[in-house]
């Protein structure tokens, strides 16, 4: 009962936090010079990409744990966080392509950043294809864990390295080549709050997924 009360409080805090980020983005933070009205996209599109990285990192960590301890739960957690990673990657891609249409004139330009997120989506789609192709649970878990770890090795390459190597239409990364953040204090405050809020949202969704897994396992036990 106590943990339920804590969870409810956290949900309310998160809701207020996200509301504050939303109002801050529209009412408090100024517009950046080059981006004008599109500055506001920064507060929603970038956190999506950030959470994609976090979700895939979590999957790699659970996969390592699975290979070490061979507990089926870790494999299910890795699958769950990969599903969230895919959802956020798709959201980042859709929102990015609407932004591209408005500022570059077309939804898809095969820009290095667009190409790299597309390849990343294919890599993680293959993870689910691999899972559905293997029937034996233990084999499925072990192969998926190895694949997930190898897939995560490509994430920093596609998200952080490729877009910085090639010329891109995409606005400068938040942390640029000199390793500095060029943002006004208000923009930076809303941006970091948004990153924190969306990260909390990811962990809440992940907790829901864990609850779902546990309830499913309980149901399987009862049905046996």
């Amino acid at each position: 009962m106590k943990s339920n009360a804590v969870m409810s409080t956290l949900k309310i805090v998160l809701l207020i936090w996200v509301g504050l980020v939303f109002s801050g983005a529209y009412l408090w933070a100024p517009l950046a010079k080059g981006l004008k009205e599109y500055t506001r996209v920064l507060y929603f599109h970038v956190p999506m990409a950030w959470i994609t990285v976090i979700a895939f990192l979590m999957s790699a960590l659970f996969s390592i744990l699975y290979l070490k301890k061979r507990l089926p739960l870790y494999d299910l957690y890795a699958e769950a966080t990969n599903q969230l990673g895919i959802v956020f990657a798709v959201l980042a891609t859709i929102t990015g392509s609407i932004w591209a249409k408005a500022s570059w004139g077309s939804f898809w330009n095969w820009d290095p950043r667009e190409t790299s997120i597309f390849i990343l989506l294919l890599i993680y789609a293959a993870y689910f294809a691999l899972r559905s192709a293997i029937e034996e649970d233990e084999k499925k878990a072990a192969l998926s864990a190895v694949y997930s770890i190898l897939a995560f090795v490509t994430v920093p390459f596609f998200i952080f390295i490729v877009p910085r190597i090639y010329d891109s239409l995409h606005p400068d990364p938040v942390i640029n080549e000199e390793g500095k953040i060029h943002m006004g204090s208000r923009i930076l405050t809303v941006f970091l709050s948004s990153i924190a809020g969306f990260t909390a949202l990811y962990f809440w969704l992940f907790k829901l997924k864990i609850d779902l897994i546990k309830v499913k396992l309980q149901l399987d036990e009862l049905e046996k």
Partner: protein, 42 residues
């Protein structure tokens, strides 16, 4: 397209998407919990 609308569409996609995802997860959990309760009563 007006930039204001672009930004609004992007926000709507994110929030509607996440809302439905959270809602469907919660619904799924409640349904399964209901099934567990029914099985326990049997």
């Amino acid at each position: 397209m007006e930039p204001t609308y672009v930004v609004l569409i992007i926000n709507l996609i994110i929030w509607v998407g996440l809302f439905f995802y959270t809602f469907s997860l919660n619904k799924n959990i409640s349904e399964l919990k209901g099934q567990i309760e029914r099985l326990k009563k049997k």
